[in-house]
């Protein structure tokens, strides 16, 4: 079997870092940048991230593919703020509720940069997260209850089966003469059928898990140790540095405004 058959992204550099650290790093940046809406902090964070993102362990094709929604959402958020943001300064356009002013223009750019600065690293980091490793990390490092974490992990695997079920259910309805009804009614029926089937699959899976001793009183061991070492600390530190540099520069230049202007 070739490495391609393992379905895992290449495990080196940042990609191999514990998912818990990736979440923490993304949170550090997101929570810090959420405090202000200015161009300086967001712009600087984004610039620093742009330098680091090539090392996130994603191939370029994958990077653009994964972050496509972000590139779409950021300008959209900007435009919304541009048209409807609180007016201040010089007025460029005034049409019904739409007022484009100096203030809203500035705020729009700041918003767009902020969405990019928060979402790009988050998406890039999560793209290389493996569900099993995340579960290991959440249970062993964060110490969430193993029943909950492993249950969620197993349920996650059922999602693939649900897609197949949906197609089969839709075809079966057509074969049984029940697909001529209105689109909405048909959709409702399908959702319900899928729901019933998923519960059945879920309970079958639960039985299989119980039969393998899941949910017993014995303390569990872990086949894979979830490691939290220097690499993980370093990643969070880098995120903290980006956040600190962004805040410091914004405060020094007088642009830092808690909660926007």
């Amino acid at each position: 079997m070739t490495a391609a058959a393992t379905a895992l992204p290449s495990r080196s550099g940042v990609a191999a870092i514990n998912p818990v650290a990736k979440i923490a790093a993304a949170l550090v940046i997101a929570l810090t940048l959420a405090f202000s809406v200015d161009t300086v902090s967001a712009g600087l964070a984004l610039a620093l991230e742009a330098v680091l993102l090539p090392f996130a362990g994603l191939r370029w094709g994958a990077f653009w593919h994964r972050t496509a929604p972000v590139w779409f959402a950021a300008p959209l958020a900007g435009i919304a703020v541009l048209l409807y943001g609180r007016p201040s300064g010089r007025l460029y356009l005034d049409w019904w509720f739409v007022e484009v002013t100096d203030g809203s223009l500035h705020l729009a750019i700041a918003t767009m940069l902020r969405v990019l600065a928060i979402a790009l690293p988050a998406v890039a980091l999560f793209a290389t997260v493996d569900a099993t490793e995340l579960a290991d990390g959440l249970a062993q490092i964060v110490r969430l209850p193993s029943r909950f974490v492993l249950g969620a992990l197993a349920a996650f695997r059922l999602l693939g089966l649900m897609r197949e079920d949906w197609r089969a259910l839709a075809m079966a309805r057509r074969a049984r003469g029940a697909a001529d009804r209105g689109r909405l009614q048909r959709f409702g029926g399908l959702v319900f059928a899928l729901f019933v089937l998923s519960i059945r699959r879920g309970s079958a899976l639960a039985t299989a898990m119980e039969a393998r001793g899941f949910g017993g009183s014995t303390p569990r061991s872990w086949a894979r140790r979830s490691r939290f070492g220097m690499r993980e600390v370093l990643l969070i530190l880098v995120a903290a540095l980006i956040a600190a540099a962004a805040v410091t520069t914004a405060v020094v230049t007088g642009q830092w405004v808690i909660g926007g202007r």
Partner: protein, 501 residues
């Protein structure tokens, strides 16, 4: 085959099983599924557990595995009576003493990588990490599944998934191995794969084993005892395999067990004098998902004709496109290229392309029975399920009742007319799914693996229904792995090539 001491870590000793007046009643049912069971299995015994569909074989295994009910003996799942012990303990308090492999390959895969999946049970037992990975490798080796530990489980075939489940149970070092129809849902090559893996495991571990299977001949050499449950939920027979088969062969065959030498014969009927073509496929390439053609048919498009009074069997290995072809002929998937055309005799005024026919128009023209019966159940009672098609056709209520009653009798489902289709046994579900499609008397019947994993009774019932339909002038298309089926019904075969590697 190696025996005994190949383990690098200590193996669990085989354990015994005792039942005294034991019984179980499912929640909400009046009758006991099993009752007054007295049974003693000595450590290391290999027992084939037989019985008709719905006799409680699976319930028995679940109880032994300790996954039935809670520790206090009654629960929302049902009530128990009498005593049942594994190695002297209540099985519910000794999870892990028994390893259970179930029927459905898909719902037993727990983790997304092969190694992690096998490790799962050991983790739950608290096996230390170093020993755990040794056990995982040994278990995979023993079931012959030598794949990288990070191989994705979703890429496995049915037979491989069953061997994975076996490895997962095995790694827990159970003293008792419970197999609930482990080969019912895998294709013929997978059956041998799984059987051989089980044989290797038992030879090496010496564990006590209880195996539920319809197809006795594959397992006869492995078993040193046969226990038979009756339809009433009590013990019907117990003893040395050949002796039980000799004494009880007729009764077992009548209960649906595939007893060697007692296979049921299907009476072939005369068909119609003429065999006009009803459906034609020309230069057909198939796509399971729109826009993505199956490679085999894209390179060599198919031509075939489906004629009245004939059976066309679509055969070929997994992944060769049998199901996709069946669903395309059934008007449920659009061809990628080429066309499927209904002759005027079949189309009867509807669009000649089946995929363009309205859903209701399909009912009397092309009926499709799905591989998984649950996918096509739309109502909450067996009776409604059979009546749904005729009602959609706006038949008179009296005519609907007549058709439904006749089908209920033919399918042996009369006593279950008010039951929810989802609560039926596997064989009953299969019969209902065929009956529900027959209720609208389609000119062409398309079936996806109609006889797969069925006990001998359901097998014969389904094959007879199909034969009756064929002789009445309908055309039948069946995607099938079952060589017995094609032979019994005199099918024309369309062998589909496998995907070139």
């Amino acid at each position: 085959m190696n025996s005994g001491s190949g383990w690098r870590t200590p193996a669990a000793p085989a354990v015994g099983v005792r039942a005294h007046g034991w019984g179980w009643r499912h929640a909400g049912r009046r009758d006991w599924a099993l009752h007054d069971i007295d049974l003693a299995l000595e450590p290391g015994e290999r027992v084939l557990l037989l019985g008709p569909s719905g006799s409680g074989k699976s319930t028995m295994l679940a109880a032994l595995a300790g996954v039935l009910g809670d520790d206090d003996g009654s629960s929302d799942e049902g009530d128990s009576a009498g005593i049942l012990t594994v190695d002297g303990h209540d099985p519910r308090s000794a999870r892990g003493a028994a390893g259970l492999v179930l029927q459905d390959p898909d719902s037993q895969v727990i983790m997304s990588r092969v190694g992690d999946d096998v490790a799962f049970g050991c983790e739950n037992l608290g096996v230390p990490r170093d020993e755990l990975w040794i056990r995982v490798r040994e278990a995979l080796e023993l079931v012959g599944l030598e794949l990288p530990l990070d191989h994705p489980t979703e890429a496995l075939s049915g037979g491989q998934k069953q061997r994975l489940a076996l490895a997962g149970a095995l790694a827990m070092r159970p003293g008792l191995l419970l197999l609930d129809e482990p080969t019912a849902n895998v294709d013929p090559s997978g059956v041998l794969e799984v059987r051989d893996a089980v044989a290797a495991v038992l030879a090496r571990t010496g564990a006590t084993a209880v195996i539920v299977e319809h197809r006795v001949e594959s397992w006869l050499d492995l078993a040193d005892r046969i226990v038979v449950l009756g339809a009433d939920g009590t013990l019907m027979a117990d003893g040395e395999p050949r002796a039980v088969l000799a004494q009880r062969g007729a009764a077992l065959a009548a209960a649906g067990v595939w007893v060697p030498g007692r296979e049921s014969r299907i009476a072939r009927r005369r068909g119609p004098a003429e065999h006009p073509a009803l459906l034609r496929a020309e230069r057909l390439s198939l796509a399971r998902v729109a826009g993505r053609p199956l490679p085999v048919t894209a390179h060599s498009p198919l031509d075939t004709t489906v004629s009245a009074g004939e059976v066309l069997a679509l055969t070929g290995p997994n992944g060769s496109g049998k199901t996709t072809l069946a669903l395309t002929l059934g008007g449920l998937l659009a061809p990628f290229a080429g066309e499927v055309r209904a002759e005027p005799l079949l189309a009867a005024g509807a669009d000649p392309r089946p995929i363009r026919m309205r859903s209701r128009e399909l009912l009397t023209r092309i009926g499709t029975v799905f591989q998984t019966p649950e996918h096509q159940f739309l109502t909450s009672t067996v009776r409604d399920e059979l009546a749904l098609g005729p009602r959609t056709l706006h038949l008179a209520p009296a005519a609907i009742d007549e058709r439904v009653d006749e089908l209920l009798a033919r399918l042996g489902l009369h006593s279950l007319a008010g039951a929810n289709p989802f609560t039926l046994s596997g064989g009953q579900k299969r019969r209902l799914s065929v009956g529900a499609v027959l209720a609208t008397r389609p000119g062409v019947l398309v079936l996806d693996e109609p006889t797969f994993g069925q006990d001998a009774l359901t097998w014969a019932a389904v094959v007879e229904l199909i034969e009756e339909l064929r002789s009445g002038g309908a055309a039948v298309v069946a995607a099938t792995h079952d060589p017995r089926f094609a032979a019994a019904i005199g099918a024309h075969e369309l062998a589909m090539a496998g995907v070139a590697a």
